[in-house]
Symmetry: C2
């Protein structure tokens, strides 16, 4: 598999976005938190601008592109839309965002608050994506794809650079996969290192597992509690390249395990974590991924955006 | 003023509780977050066990005391009660907690979940305190005062040690004051350092400002949105010693500024912060404390425990 995102690209991306995105912390919630004999810590990327990792890739993509007068356009389950709207506001240009009906009101409202024009269209992400592509051909705005672009992958990969810098040694990074933007960035960063990237998908939206089985990206049905953030029907081509190059393993988690993880974060850390953001931790709590004795595991907690009442109510 | 908590006590406390409490992160939310020309960062102590800094002092106090068969007893606005109940569960002993009617249901429920017997009695903290003292004389349980004890002060002071270790240089620490447990611990840690501790109180619960005016602890009326966590009627004696020794300055914030700060944390960092936990940040946003150009300020975000709907609803 051809490697198109190298460490050097990610180092350059980190320099470009430094000071404009937040350096998010790694927190050890204590030996009892994950019920594991491994050393399992959390990268709290949900504290990022707009509440998810998406700010990194979107900003990097915009800063390495010519932004036309029409500004930015994107399709998104919600988090990427917020990120693009935020980037547009930072750069002082307009933005237009297409989201599917599955996107929570909390996300759609937040996109609007960043000043974007929002269109809610279609059932799932791919439907919104089609509407976005049609509109882009009319306006000529810069279309920032939520995952399938090497510039976005390099931006997300900066999380890997931070994990490596902040931990003495990390054996495994557990990360949720929707279309593959975040996980492929981590896979690209750790490609020649002993650190393994393990992808976590909902049982109901397993486009990466299906791609591994088929040997290439294929379409799957999507559903479930995390469908707004992890409900891409097919892993992106750029993302597949990096993940297959790294030979990233994958595990799946049930909707129940995701909900349990959300409640546990709230009860024990006071964090509101959205379903997709809790999926990687759910893999440990549910036993879908069992760290070995002494294995250092970084769990990427990648998104916050949901209605707190969906967890606490 | 006699100094009864030295740096050495805090260093010893840090060693004793290390690995049992969480090392909480300092996060820079970016230059625009505080609208300040200073360098203002947040110590996210709300990620601590039980959702507030109280876990440190309560654990340290218990670990340096003989715990009788009757276990632990405490009066609390809520956060300290949670912490004592958690310490009791960690040590495998019973606990009995007295809270006033002003304590939010979210806090009372959480104390019960840690296995404590809870008594809701009296309007404010001092009323619950009187009931606790009466009960203690019957049971002989170890009474862990929420703030007025050098062991508790030393435990809270470990936050100062972490701030100093994690920041190259810190000019000012902004910290909310209820009875003075946290702020006096910070004052003791930084007593002989150039770092200044600035206390933040609600306009409606200003027992430290009143003590500074009187030259000694005096009683004040308490009210307002943060009364459950900051509503002590009088600064503690042990706390007054450390704060007066350091000559800690103070500022006050309105209830409206506290509510605004809670909403801002939620909108821009996705954190649920309780009124008392947001008070120190409110001092910057409201202009009650104005950092100088280039001044490095650590804002202690010291508590999370509230109903998210009180912020997002």
């Amino acid at each position: 598999m051809e490697r198109t995102v190298e460490r050097a690209h990610i180092v350059a991306a980190a320099q470009l976005i430094e000071g404009r995105v937040r350096r998010t912390p790694i927190v050890d919630f204590g030996p009892g938190f994950f019920d594991s004999s491994g050393h399992v810590v959390c990268k709290l990327e949900l504290l990022q601008h707009t509440g998810s990792f998406k700010a990194r890739g979107a900003l990097h993509r915009a800063l390495t592109s010519d932004v036309p007068a029409a500004g930015l356009i994107a399709a998104s389950g919600g988090n990427h839309g917020m990120a693009v709207a935020w980037v547009a506001a930072e750069l002082g240009v307009a933005s237009e965002i297409f989201v599917p009906e599955v996107s929570p009101v909390a996300k759609v409202d937040k996109i609007r608050r960043f000043g974007a024009t929002v269109h809610v269209t279609g059932a799932f992400y791919d439907d919104a994506r089609a509407a976005c592509v049609a509109r882009q051909s009319e306006t000529g705005a810069l279309d920032i794809h939520p995952y399938d672009h090497d510039g976005t992958v390099a931006g997300a990969g900066t999380i890997g650079a931070e994990i490596e810098a902040d931990l003495d040694a990390v054996d495994t990074v557990l990360v949720a996969l929707g279309g593959g933007g975040l996980s492929s960035g981590l896979a690209a960063w750790f490609a020649d290192r002993p650190t393994r990237v393990v992808v976590v998908e909902p049982e109901t939206s397993r486009c990466y597992a299906a791609a591994v089985e088929a040997g290439r990206p294929v379409e799957v049905d999507v559903a479930g509690v995390a469908a707004d953030s992890l409900g891409a029907r097919q892993v992106g081509d750029a993302n597949w390249r990096a993940l297959a190059d790294a030979g990233a393993a994958s595990v799946t988690v049930s909707d129940g395990a995701i909900r349990d993880a959300q409640r546990r974060f709230w009860a024990e850390t006071q964090l509101i974590v959205e379903p997709g953001g809790a999926a990687a931790a759910a893999a440990v709590w549910s036993g879908a991924y069992r760290p070995a004795d002494g294995e250092t595991v970084a769990v990427v907690v990648c998104g916050a955006n949901c209605d707190p009442a969906s967890i606490t109510g």
